[in-house]
């Protein structure tokens, strides 16, 4: 099955008396994510009284409302109107940015936790998460998996689970998607900034805690800064927004330490560039579209 721009009308349902839930597709795909993000932005812009939180997700949208202020059916009707407008748009584009995220793959921090949670937790207790990920994707070895992981950009398809954690969907055709099952049973520990993977989604754990995604490496700089020390967090304590694009860049230990030093000194800034998310182009010719994105990032100041 390939992805298309066309999807049937979304499914509307209620999460109790305070939540409207809209599912654009059961399956993950770029169009469903585009619709979720676009309808969410539209609803946020309307700023309706009684709409208290608009939470776009991978292929769905959760809206929290105060039923004392806005009637459930009114909210549903307004959301359906926005869905209609999003579908009528022939553009399927959004102005966004691409951010470069340095990652130390096969680092000792996640390796230590990987080693602690094997028997009873993992499908293949004898190897590492990366070995397993390579095997289930039919790749030669961990190195090939790592290359595939960082060579094509990812779309932040959802932010959540815990504060500021990005779910990311790689901008490659479905037959090139990296898919890895989650752990058999969730770990009770995950190092902060672990680069994880579950199903077709990559994530970066923003905080220490429980987790069920496979662990491949560690991001070098924070993505959540509750004290708002760093420049990229001056406006808000969370880095990622749905619709952001991410390019992972592999770094070695020396560069990881150097970035940590910059974070410590408060001088670290993410390399980023403005780009246009173009769903149609990404579906029609992903390799060419991804080259455009990476060229924009290459042109950005360090």
């Amino acid at each position: 099955m390939t992805e298309t721009l066309y999807l049937p009308t979304a499914r509307y349902t209620w999460g109790g008396d305070e939540f409207l839930f809209v599912e654009f597709d059961e399956a993950m795909n770029l169009t469903a994510n585009y619709l979720a993000t676009t309808v969410a932005q539209g609803l946020t812009a309307l700023d309706l009284d009684g709409v208290v939180d608009v939470c776009p997700a991978n292929a769905s949208l959760l809206v929290r409302f105060d039923p004392d202020v806005i009637k459930a059916e009114d909210l549903k009707r307004r959301t359906q109107e926005l869905e209609g407008q999003a579908r009528e748009s022939t553009q399927y584009t959004a102005e966004t940015r691409i951010i470069e995220v340095p990652v130390w793959y096969q680092d000792p921090y996640t390796a230590e936790v990987v080693a602690r949670f094997r028997e009873g937790y993992h499908q293949d207790p004898s190897g590492t998460d990366l070995d397993y990920a390579a095997k289930v994707n039919g790749l030669a070895d961990a190195a090939e998996f790592i290359r595939r992981h960082h060579e094509s950009p990812w779309l932040v398809s959802m932010v959540g689970f815990v504060a500021g954690l990005p779910f990311m969907y790689q901008l490659v055709p479905r037959d090139r998607q990296l898919e890895v099952p989650k752990y058999l049973s969730p770990r009770t520990d995950t190092p902060p900034l672990t680069v994880g993977h579950g199903g077709c989604f990559a994530c970066i754990y923003s905080v220490r805690g429980a987790g069920g995604y496979q662990m491949f490496g560690i991001a070098a700089a924070p993505i959540y800064d509750p004290e708002q020390h760093l420049h990229d967090f001056r406006d808000f304590l969370i880095l990622f927004r749905p619709g952001d694009l991410v390019k992972f860049r592999p770094v070695d230990e020396a560069e990881y330490r150097s970035i940590q030093q910059q974070v410590e000194e408060g001088t670290w800034r993410y390399k980023q560039a403005p780009v246009t998310l173009d769903v149609e182009a990404a579906l029609a010719d992903p390799d060419s579209y991804n080259r455009t994105l990476l060229e924009a990032l290459d042109g950005a100041d360090d």
């Binding site: 099955m1 349902t13 209620w14 999460g15 109790g16 008396d17 305070e18 939540f19 839930f21 599912e23 597709d25 059961e26 399956a27 993950m28 795909n29 969410a40 208290v52 939180d53 608009v54 939470c55 776009p56 997700a57 991978n58 292929a59 769905s60 949208l61 959760l62 929290r64 039923p67 004392d68 459930a72 959802m158 932010v159 959540g160 689970f161 815990v162 504060a163 500021g164 954690l165 779910f167 969907y169 479905r174 099952p181 989650k182 579950g198 199903g199 077709c200 989604f201 923003s206 905080v207 805690g209 959540y224 509750p226 969370i238």
Partner: protein
């Protein structure tokens, strides 16, 4: 004025009525699990409903006050001990400088609330003083209380009410059995008819795995329909493409033990939600102790909204005292 924590208790946190509006970036609403009890405590000491209180879980803290202090304890049924002498809960109490407050063994319920006149005066973060421990945000240094902490108390903002105690008829019951009203919806179509029947017709028992994020029940389990899993959803029939989680929603990972998400819920994930506890009954769930025999009863949106109005009226009655 401040409270000095001698012993923190199992899990004592600063909570107000919550941090609404940041769920879309994964920050939960937080706030007192049993909002009605927290508001009643604030009422008794002349605070507004929005002031922060201490939420104590199962075992309470031991603390001393450094100045004359007006307090009230509400929520779970617990002996309130001032310098070792028992005093009633749900009633305003005056402490003298140097007094020690501690708590006995719970006789029912799970969480109780300590309101102090002037409110717990930690800084607001994103519009709330509630503690979000995983995100190291809000509360006292973004964490649960520890021995040696000095918890600041604010200046009184209002007069003390004439009423000194919450009348019996406005106090919640703390029973070993519970009925929670739910609305079907979300991914309930992934359950078989038998799976749906079991959820609302069988008994479920609250397990000890019950915290501010979610409360887990054991019982007969549910049944999922067999289907080809959609791309990106994961292989188990209880899996969906990761989506936003409604607060109060019920997920059944693997199909065995339902988990009801509460006020510190993770904001999303890959387990199908099959229904949602209505907003009016979230306080009831917060009061349940492990072992509580629970039935889920399905209601309509109209019935949920009626229950919500009744809860609002009850709160208004407390504030009108």
């Amino acid at each position: 004025m401040a409270l000095t924590i001698e012993q923190p208790g199992l899990l004592t946190t600063v909570q107000d009525q919550g941090r609404i509006g940041y769920y879309h970036v994964g920050i939960p609403q937080g706030g007192a699990m049993d909002q009605e009890s927290a508001q009643a405590a604030n009422k008794l000491v002349g605070n507004t409903a929005a002031e922060a209180v201490l939420e104590c879980t199962y075992t309470g803290p031991v603390l001393t006050v450094d100045a004359p202090t007006t307090i009230a304890v509400t929520g779970a049924d617990v002996p309130v001990l001032v310098n070792g002498e028992e005093h009633p809960a749900w009633r305003r109490l005056e402490l003298a400088a140097g007094d020690t407050l501690k708590f006995g063994v719970l006789r029912g319920g799970a969480r109780f609330y300590l309101a102090v006149r002037g409110g717990i005066a930690v800084p607001e973060v994103l519009g709330s003083r509630s503690t979000y421990a995983i995100g190291r945000l809000g509360g006292l240094d973004g964490r649960k209380l520890e021995a040696g902490d000095v918890v600041p108390v604010g200046e009184p903002t209002g007069l003390l009410p004439e009423v000194e105690e919450i009348p019996e008829r406005l106090r919640p019951a703390f029973s070993r059995s519970l009925e929670l009203r739910i609305m079907w919806g979300l991914y309930d179509h992934l359950l078989t008819d038998e799976g749906r029947r079991r959820l609302v017709e069988e008994e479920w028992k609250l397990t000890p795995v019950a915290d501010r994020m979610g409360l887990r029940f054991e019982g007969p389990g549910v049944e999922w329909i067999q289907r080809r899993q959609p791309f990106g959803a994961g292989s188990d029939p209880s899996n969906i493409v990761d989506a936003g989680y409604a607060v109060g929603s019920i997920q059944v990972p693997g199909g065995t033990q339902p988990i009801v998400l509460h006020r510190d819920a993770v904001s999303g994930g890959g387990y199908a939600m099959v229904g949602t506890v209505i907003s009016a009954d979230m306080d009831l769930l917060a009061r349940a102790a492990p072992g509580t025999v629970t039935r889920f009863r399905a209601v309509s949106m109209d019935e949920a909204l009626q229950a919500r109005r009744e809860r609002t009226e009850r709160l208004e009655e407390i504030w009108a005292l």
